[in-house]
C-alpha cells in the first residue's frame, strides 16, 4: 500500500505518511504483550489451585490463596519485615531529600551541580558493588549486618530516586504563593505546613511510593547487608529451590495493585499540558 493510497483511504487521519506504517502497531502490541506476559503469569498463578510445593504448574482455579494471603507464616513475616523496612527507609529518605531538593530548586547554591551529580551517582553503581562497599563500611564500624545496616542501605539507594522524583516535581513549583504568604506575615513554619506541604503532597506521595516499591523490591543489596533478617525478596529467593507458594503471587499482585492505585491517584493532579503529538493542526 503506498503512502498516497493510505491517505486517500483515511482522509481524516491527517498524520504524516510514514507514521502510519501498519506493522508498527502490531509490533508495539507484541512488545506490550511481552512486557505483560510475566504479570499475567503472576496474576494467573495467584489463582492456581497448586498441588505441589512449587506453584509453577497450573492445576485449576481457586480463590483460596487470595482468602489466605498470609497462610505461609514465614512468607508473611518476611512480607511485613519488608514493609516495615520500606516504610522506615522511605520516611528517612523524604526527611533527607525534601529539604535538599527544596534548597536546590529554591536557592542558588554553590556546587549545586556537583550535589546533583552526587545524588545521581549511586544509581550508576552496580547494586553488588554498592552492597559490597556498604558491607565493608559496616565491618569497619563494627556494625554487624542486620536491621540497622539494612535500613541504612535501603535509605541510601532510595534517596537518589526520591530526590530525583521530588526535584522533578519541585521544578514546576511556583514559589510566589509562599512569598505572598510571607508578605502577609505568616511565619515560616506556618507557610511550610499550610502552603508548601499541601501543594507538595502529590509529589511526596509519588516519590514515597517509588521509594517504597524500590525498597520492597531490593534483593541484591539486601542479600549482602541483611545478616539474619529475612526480607520478602530474600525469602522468595531462599525458598526458590524448595518451595514457591501461591501466596508469593498473591502478595506480589497486592503490592502491584496498591502501587498502581496510588500511582494513578498521585498522577491525577499535575496532568497538565496534553502533549499534542499529532501533526498538522490547522494553524491559521
Amino acid at each position: 500500500m503506498t503512502v498516497s493510497q493510505l491517505n486517500q483511504k483515511r482522509p481524516n487521519k491527517r498524520s504524516f505518511s510514514f507514521k502510519t506504517i501498519p506493522w508498527l502497531t502490531l509490533w508495539s502490541i507484541g512488545v506490550y504483550a511481552i512486557l505483560f506476559a510475566p504479570v499475567a503469569v503472576i496474576v494467573l498463578f495467584s489463582f492456581n489451585d497448586s498441588q505441589s510445593r512449587f506453584n509453577l504448574i497450573w492445576h485449576g482455579f481457586t480463590l483460596k490463596n487470595w482468602l489466605n494471603p498470609f497462610a505461609d507464616p514465614t512468607l508473611a513475616q518476611a512480607f511485613f519485615t519488608s514493609l516495615a523496612l520500606a516504610l522506615l527507609a522511605t520516611c528517612l529518605c523524604i526527611l533527607l531529600a525534601l529539604p535538599m531538593t527544596m534548597a536546590l530548586e529554591r536557592f542558588r547554591i554553590r556546587g549545586a551541580s556537583a550535589l546533583e551529580m552526587l545524588l545521581v551517582l549511586p544509581l550508576t553503581l552496580p547494586e553488588v558493588v554498592l552492597g559490597a562497599s556498604l558491607l565493608l563500611l559496616f565491618v569497619q564500624l563494627r556494625l554487624p549486618p542486620g536491621p540497622v545496616a539494612l535500613v541504612i542501605a535501603h535509605t541510601l539507594f532510595c534517596l537518589s530516586y526520591t530526590a530525583m522524583a521530588l526535584k522533578a516535581r519541585l521544578g514546576g513549583h511556583d514559589w510566589t504563593l509562599e512569598e505572598a504568604a510571607a508578605d502577609l506575615g505568616a511565619k515560616p513554619s506556618r507557610i511550610f505546613t499550610q502552603i508548601t506541604l499541601p501543594r507538595l503532597a502529590p509529589g511526596l506521595l509519588s516519590a514515597g511510593l517509588l521509594s517504597l516499591s524500590i525498597s520492597m523490591d531490593d534483593y541484591v543489596v539486601s542479600s549482602i547487608t541483611a545478616g539474619s533478617v529475612v526480607t520478602f525478596p530474600l525469602r522468595i529467593a531462599g525458598a526458590f529451590q524448595r518451595q514457591i507458594s501461591p501466596q508469593i503471587h498473591v502478595l506480589s499482585t497486592m503490592v502491584l495493585l496498591i502501587s498502581l492505585v496510588a500511582l494513578v491517584l498521585s498522577c491525577r493532579e499535575p496532568e497538565g499540558r496534553t502533549n499534542a503529538s499529532t501533526v498538522g493542526t490547522d494553524g491559521d
Binding site: 503506498t2 503512502v3 498516497s4 493510497q5 491517505n7 486517500q8 482522509p11 481524516n12 491527517r14 504524516f16 505518511s17 501533526v279 498538522g280 490547522d282 494553524g283 491559521d284
Partner: protein, 338 residues
C-alpha cells in the same frame, strides 16, 4: 494585471474540498496562479488558508477536487513527489545540521547533488546574505537569519511554487519591514511563484501582486491589493483589510467610505461632496496622523483618519465639525448587509 492570461498557469485548484468531521475547512475552491507572481491567501484564524497550503504541499489529501501543478494532477502524490517547497512558519530548520547542510538537504534527498550543487548553494547563500554563516547551527542564528536559511533551503531545488506559511509571523515588528522587501527582491530575482499565507493585511498588501481574502473556506474576493482595499465587494472584506465606514444607502445597500477619505470642516459640503455633522467623541494623536471618531446626532459613529497637515489647528473632544467626503470616494458594496 491584464497580462496574466498570457502567462502559464503554475497552480490550479479545481473544486478543492476538505472537511474535518463536520467542519468544512475548504469549500469547493477554484483558484489559478500564474508563473512568477507573488500571491497571498489572506484570512483570519480558521479561514482554511493553512489547510489549503497543506493540500498543495501534499501533507493532506482533499475529500474532493484536484490540485494541478504545471498542468499535472498531483492531488494524490506524496510531498516528496511534488515540485513544491514550503517555508514553514517556525522555519523547521534541522537543528543538528549546519546552515550549509540544511540547504544541501533538498538536493541530496533528491539525489541531485552534483559538482554544481556546491556552487548553487554558495550562490544561494549570497542571495540571502548568509555566506559567512554556512557552518553555523540554526540555534546560533537570529530569527531573521533563520528565516533566510529556510528560504534558501526551500529555493535551492528551484520549485515551481514556493509556499510561505506566515513567513514573518515569528519575527518582531521592527524586523518585518526589511524582510518583506528582501523576500520580494528574492522572489523577483529567482522568478519563482510565491504563494504566501498570512493573516496580516499590511504584509499581504505590501508584498502581493494578487491576493484572495478567504472566509470560512471560501473566496470572498480576488484581486490586486488596491482593488481589494478600494473596491471591496463585501462588508466582510471591507472590514478585514482596514477600517471601514459603512454608510447605508437606499434600500439595504451599503457604501464603503475609507476613514482617510474624510476631511473635517466648519462648513457644509460643496456640490460634488457629501457630509454630515457631529461632535468629536474620541481623539488619538499618532504623530503622522490623527485618528478620530465623530458621533452624529443619531448616535452612529464615523471613523476618520486625518493627515497631520490637514488637521485643524485645534482639536478638542466635544468639538462640532462637518465630516466631508467626495461622492466619488464612496464605493457601493455589491453584497451583504453587516
Amino acid at each position: 494585471m491584464s497580462d496574466l492570461s498570457n502567462k502559464a498557469p503554475v497552480l490550479e485548484l479545481q473544486g478543492l474540498y476538505r472537511r474535518f468531521g463536520t467542519l468544512v475547512a475548504v469549500d469547493h475552491l477554484d483558484l489559478t496562479l500564474y508563473k512568477g507572481e507573488f500571491f497571498t491567501l489572506l484570512g483570519a484564524s480558521g479561514c482554511g488558508k493553512t489547510t489549503i497550503m497543506r493540500l498543495i504541499a501534499g501533507f493532506d489529501q482533499p475529500n474532493a477536487g484536484r490540485v494541478m501543478l504545471d498542468g499535472v494532477d498531483v492531488t494524490h502524490l506524496p510531498p516528496q513527489a511534488r515540485n513544491v517547497h514550503t517555508m514553514f512558519q517556525q522555519y523547521a530548520l534541522f537543528p543538528h545540521l549546519s546552515v550549509w547542510d540544511n540547504i544541501a538537504f533538498g538536493p541530496r534527498a533528491q539525489g541531485k547533488e552534483t559538482s554544481d550543487t556546491k556552487r548553487q548553494i554558495g550562490d544561494m547563500l549570497d542571495i540571502v546574505g548568509l555566506a559567512e554563516k554556512a557552518d553555523f547551527k540554526p540555534n546560533e542564528l537570529s530569527g531573521g537569519q533563520r528565516q533566510r536559511v529556510a528560504l534558501a533551503r526551500a529555493l535551492i531545488n528551484t520549485p515551481s511554487l514556493l509556499l510561505l506559511d506566515e513567513p514573518l509571523g515569528a519575527l518582531d515588528a521592527s524586523m518585518r519591514r526589511g524582510l518583506q522587501l528582501e523576500l520580494k527582491r528574492i522572489q523577483r530575482e529567482t522568478g519563482i511563484t510565491f504563494l504566501m499565507v498570512s493573516h496580516d493585511q499590511d504584509e499581504a498588501f505590501s508584498m502581493s501582486d494578487r491576493l484572495v481574502v478567504l472566509n470560512a473556506g471560501r473566496i470572498e474576493q480576488l484581486g490586486t491589493p488596491r482593488e481589494i482595499y478600494e473596491r471591496s465587494n463585501s462588508s466582510y472584506v471591507a472590514g478585514f483589510v482596514g477600517q471601514a465606514n459603512l454608510l447605508p444607502e437606499d434600500g439595504d445597500n451599503l457604501s464603503l467610505l475609507r476613514p482617510e477619505r474624510i476631511r473635517l470642516s466648519q462648513n457644509p459640503p460643496g456640490s460634488d461632496e457629501e457630509g454630515c455633522q457631529g461632535h468629536l467623541s474620541a481623539l488619538f494623536y499618532q504623530g503622522a496622523d490623527w485618528r478620530l471618531e465623530l458621533t452624529r446626532a443619531d448616535g452612529s459613529v464615523l471613523f476618520i483618519l486625518l493627515n497631520a497637515n490637514e488637521a485643524p489647528p485645534s482639536l478638542t473632544l466635544g468639538d462640532s465639525f462637518w465630516a466631508v467626503w467626495k461622492r466619488t470616494d464612496l464605493h457601493r458594496l455589491t453584497s451583504g448587509a453587516i
